[in-house]
Amino acid sequence: MKMSSTSKKRDLTLLPNEVVVGRWHNNSYRIVRELGYGATGTVYLAEGRDGPVAIKIASDSMSITSEVNVLRQFSKVQRPSLGPSFYDADDYITPDGCYPFYAMEYIKGEAFLPFLRSRGGEWLGIMVVQLLGDLHRLHQEGWIFGDLKPENLLVTGNPSRVRWLDVGGITKEGRAIKEYTEFFDRGYWGFGGRKAEPTYDLFSVSMLMINRAYPSRFEKNLKHGSTSLQSRVNDKEILTPFSDVIHKGLEGKYKSAMDMRKELMEIIQNTTFTSTTEKKIKRKETRTSIKKQKVQDKKKNSAIKNKRERRFVGIFESMLFASFLLILYILYLFGQAV
């Protein structure tokens, strides 16, 4: 979505090997490739003086400056895993105008949902437990994540650890949520307001778990919003062990991320057995679905094969006919000779 406002400046596209030099600090960054596009700007992978960095560049200096403010805050109290580290903020002067940008740590990893989709339900639990631990630390420092969604998360490798990618939605506690995505927003579902408080993030955590079972998400049913959401949870087997936690998260019943984390950890510990059977069921399910798919594939294949076979039979027939003619001809020749 693009906003046309009174300040008209073209969006900037940076090409690989273009060198971005800051106007104030004179640091230079050689663009490698585009990493993604967010609400406030485009993120590129770039080569800085000390190695790879991620660079976010935008035409609108307002939102990017707010974002840098948030990132700076965390650089002061940076511990591993509370979002990417902040390196530098500067302006890039081009003939089209002045584009503010900032450089931060480049986090390499696997996208959140694809990571979970190839693994069992216990991994969903573990990742959310990690996330809740980080959220708790964030909340204790008086901040709310806001725009919590899989696109803003990444799983880094060995051992697998969930990390925050985009901190643009982080809002001071007690203020109005800065940025949100409808599916993860409790205001959209009619479960509460958009004031930044821990329960706001915990609602999004529940929706994140629901998103694991419904990768393409779904829209609100205008007539009965909240009940439809709750029945969605009950419909999916992978969510069954977590359904109590999800419901409580949705309803804002946890006072802190720690409370939710504790209950979730207990569930993971106590449902090892059921989670394996669930997996078996799941495996069976996938097997049957694979079977189904295979059957369908067979049908498709057989249709193609039939066509192929028909053609083959046709060739065979004509060859048979040809050889028959040949034999007749030979016999005729013999007849002549005799």
């Binding site: 302006d91 203020r175 205001g187």
Partner: protein
């Protein structure tokens, strides 16, 4: 010091104006009065005409606000985003003006080094959170809007949810145009939030006229009346963007 009030007119329409004053001129007037005009164009299946899109952009530009053309189903997210963004933009404009007064004509926020800019942006964010906000919402209820009105209702309730989360006070007033006998009809008087809008759009006009200019004119009048009522004890928050 009192912080003053941000004043916005939000216009929701699906096409071109076709009667009365030029809405672009009236939007410029609104800006002179210290108000901001935001315009949202709503389309469903068929795209909006180029003339319609141009008009929407020009009204917002003249009114110092933001414009956006969206599909009806994306309306909620857009309405709250446009409103918030316009607030920040207005405050930013004022701060910019202050800066050029302090630092000299040519200077604005972008001429400050990033660290100082960050500190100023914190002030802008703070003001956006705490300033009072008055919004007049003008909804086009001409015949073609009929099937879009449920989404408009939904979006306005959603806007109310978003703004209620702010620390500052909000007041809404809802008007529709064209009205039954006049250019605009009052649907809901000044209120701190919308609880329910069901039935708000019962009075539908079936005429083909879209008096956008006169509706904006009325909007300015309503806002002016409210400013007078609130008294002049309040600091004025004038904007004059470069």
């Amino acid at each position: 010091m009192k912080k003053g009030t941000l004043r916005q007119i939000l216009l929701l329409t699906d096409g071109c104006s076709n009667t009365g004053e030029d809405p672009i001129a009236i939007a410029s007037l609104a800006k002179e009065e210290g108000m901001t005009v935001n315009v949202i164009g709503i389309v469903d299946r068929q795209e909006m005409s180029e003339a319609g899109v141009n008009e929407i952009e020009s009204i917002a530009e003249a009114g110092g606000g933001i414009s956006q053309v969206v599909y009806a189903r994306q309306l909620s997210q857009t309405v709250q985003m446009v409103t918030k963004k316009a607030m920040t933009q207005t405050i930013y404009g004022v701060v910019n003006r202050e800066i050029s007064q302090i630092l000299g004509e040519e200077k604005e926020l972008e001429d400050l080094e990033p660290e100082k800019r960050g500190q100023l942006m914190e002030v802008v964010d703070e003001l956006g959170e705490t300033m009072d906000l008055d919004i007049i919402i003008l909804v086009d209820t001409s015949a073609s809007m009929k099937n879009k009105l449920p989404m408009v209702q939904e979006a306005l309730l959603d806007l109310s949810v978003s703004l209620r989360a702010r620390t500052g006070n909000n007041h809404f007033a809802l008007y529709s145009f064209p009205g039954k006998r006049k250019d605009v009809d009052k649907l809901i008087n000044w209120t701190p939030h919308f609880d329910s809008l069901s039935g708000a759009f019962k009075k539908m006009s079936t005429s083909g006229v879209t008096p956008t200019g006169p509706a904006l004119q009325e909007g300015i009048g309503i806002m002016r009346k409210r400013m007078k009522k609130k008294g002049s004890d309040e600091d004025e928050f004038y904007l004059e963007e470069a």
